[in-house]
């Protein structure tokens, strides 16, 4: 491989890792990094454009929103909510869905049929309705959002993983493992799981964007994290009405969402290649 080829291949990993690391870092140290508190309003300075635009000021680098709140500060704090909610919800749905999917695919028969009917119900249930229901009954808040996002999200994983697990269960190497006395639990964990990792990783990277957007949809409907705590999704939603006059309110959190989603996708691609032994040594 040429020198440039190697650098560009590693760049695919380094860049997204850097982006995600920086964003997670800012989320953790938001209190130190943000120039203003996220809820500090300043009506005289409302709708200030970003610093490099006409009428902008260096006091608010990325401008202010309709209440005069600093966009940069809110975006920094917003990283907290957006990243923690989506990462936690992805972790929960991926773990539950994978476990059930492998179990269902490997056991087959009635167990499989039962789990898949539950998946059918979960997939056909309107997610937003459940979210509203949960928000009403539990009250809006951080854990309600995570619960609402996870309550149905596992089903998609379970369905995809189950199909793959079913295919792998009938393959000869699983039969070989059975023949030498490997226990069902170990077969599922050691023989089937590594072989579905590719699909799982693709599923996870795709759902990073979906989860952040779902969280923002909930915030938009007022059943997310209650205001004034910012999330990127709710910031995008806030700025929608003034998009023609004050584009900066929606744009910056939107760019951040895009960066996270793309970082996730690149990292997923890279990981998938690394985990495939056929590509590992090439």
């Amino acid at each position: 491989m040429t020198r440039w080829g190697r650098i560009s291949r590693d760049l695919v990993m380094i860049l997204p890792v850097t982006v995600l690391a920086v964003l997670i870092f800012t989320a953790i140290f938001a209190d130190v990094l943000a120039p203003y508190p996220y809820d500090k309003t300043a009506l005289p300075e409302r709708l200030t454009p970003p610093a490099w635009c006409e009428g902008g000021s260096t006091k608010h680098l990325l401008g202010t929103d309709t209440l005069g709140r600093d966009i940069l500060s809110r975006a920094i704090y917003g990283a907290r909510v957006s990243l923690s909610v989506s990462l936690l919800a992805i972790a929960i749905t991926a773990i539950v869905g994978t476990a059930l999917g492998i179990f269902s695919g490997y056991m087959g028969g009635r167990t499989d049929a039962f789990i898949m009917r539950v998946v059918d119900v979960a997939l056909s249930f309107p997610a937003l309705l459940l979210a509203i229901l949960l928000a009403v009954s539990l009250g809006p808040g951080f854990f309600t959002v995570i619960f609402a996002l996870s309550a149905l999200g596992w089903a998609g994983y379970a369905r995809i993983i189950r199909g793959e697990a079913l295919r792998i269960s009938t393959s000869d190497f699983v039969a070989q493992a059975q023949v030498i006395g490997v226990s069902p639990g170990r077969i599922m964990l050691r023989h089937i799981f590594p072989n579905i990792l590719n699909i799982l990783i693709v599923g996870i990277t795709l759902s990073v964007g979906a989860m952040i957007l779902a969280e923002s949809a909930m915030s938009y409907l007022g059943i997310g994290i209650p205001p004034p705590v910012p999330s990127w999704g709710s910031m995008v939603a806030d700025g929608r009405n003034s998009l023609d006059s004050a584009w900066w309110i929606s744009t910056f959190p939107g760019i951040l969402i895009g960066m996270v989603v793309m970082s996730g996708n690149f990292l997923g691609d890279w990981l998938r290649d690394r985990l495939d032994p056929r590509l590992r040594q090439l």
């Binding site: 039969a175 006395g181 032994p277």
Partner: protein, 322 residues
């Protein structure tokens, strides 16, 4: 004569499907001695593999079930063991090599990991010990430079090498009985010959009993001490290999042998048995072979023939054999 290690008695394994009961194995009895290679020969779908899976109790449940019979290994009836106990027999005392080497290895683990798995499981070995044992298992199969091989992945190996690795996995815990289900079918003729020589060598070293499943009489002639011919879920003839080649008694056995191409015969056309084997869902009364049998009589149509011992160790189920 060495002692009998496995005795299968009147084994019935059926598949219960929506369209009826498939009698894949319908009353099979045989025994295998220590250090012996016992051949199980017959055309496709005659119940060879189901017999093997029944011995290991790995039929695809709940559709496939052992309905009746005994599988006695060293005095223990395997069919009476609970699942956990049975699992401890697999790999440690009975092991099996599957048909297709291309798919019987897990693509994501190194060869060393896969051969070591049974050792970790059954013998509780760890770390360095596993590696030592894996290397000696690979040596047993005459694999050159085992130290390099154990860090390689299945996709880096040729078909013949993969099948040797599958052999090493099966032999990794020094089982006393090895079932080989057409292990050479997917290999080309030269590799096949090497592989069979290897098996003989392993047997000499370890005294393992082998059940060799195949449809190829050539393989039987080279590998097996004794052989059983299966047809539609039953064993129709059992004898020493030499004897069965010299004096096949059952019409099916002779017909099968006539269907093998031979270098010393210059016939125009290869002999073939007319018709199809009966459906295992709907077996004819009487002898299962009578619709295709060249010498069938009325009695063959009406009653199933019982198994007769015509000379010592030579069993035949046929009305025409006196």
């Amino acid at each position: 004569m060495s002692k009998i290690i496995l005795q299968v008695e009147d084994l019935h394994s059926f598949f219960f499907t929506r369209r009826g009961v498939v009698k894949a194995v319908d009353g099979v009895s045989f025994y295998v001695r220590e250090g012996e290679t016992f051949g199980l020969v017959g055309e496709s779908a005659c119940g060879k593999t189901v017999t093997a899976l029944s011995i290991l109790r790995l039929l695809p449940e709940p559709a496939g079930r052992i309905v009746e019979g005994k599988v006695i290994l060293d005095g223990t009836n395997l069919l009476e063991l609970d699942k956990e106990e049975m699992r401890k027999y697999r790999g440690r005392i009975i092991s099996m090599i599957l048909q297709d080497p291309m798919t019987s290895l897990n693509p994501v683990y190194t060869i060393g990991d896969q051969i070591g798995e049974a050792m970790r499981l059954h013998q509780g070995l760890q770390g360095e010990m596993v590696e030592q044992e894996v290397i000696s298992a690979l040596r047993l199969l005459n694999i050159p430079s085992p130290e390099t091989l154990l860090r390689q992945y299945p996709f880096q190996l040729s078909g013949g090498m993969r099948q040797r690795v599958a052999g090493a996995i099966a032999m990794s815990c020094h089982p006393r009985l090895l079932i080989a289900d057409e292990p050479t079918t997917a290999l080309d003729a030269t590799i096949q010959a090497q592989y069979m020589a290897l098996f003989k060598d392993i047997q000499k070293k370890t005294n393992v009993a082998i059940i060799y499943i195949t449809h190829d009489f050539g393989v039987i002639a080279q590998m097996c001490h004794r052989v059983a011919v299966m047809y539609a879920g039953k064993i129709v003839e059992t004898a020493m290999t030499r004897e069965i080649f010299k004096t096949p008694k059952h019409p099916y056995t002779s017909a099968l042998m006539n269907s093998v191409p031979r270098l010393d015969h210059k016939d125009e056309r290869l002999y073939s048995i007319k018709g199809q084997p009966p459906s295992l869902r709907d077996l004819p009364p009487g002898c299962r072979f009578f619709p295709r049998c060249p010498v069938a009589e009325d009695i063959c149509r009406q009653q199933e023939p019982a198994e007769k011992e015509i000379t010592e160790g030579h069993f035949v189920s046929c009305w025409k054999v006196k």
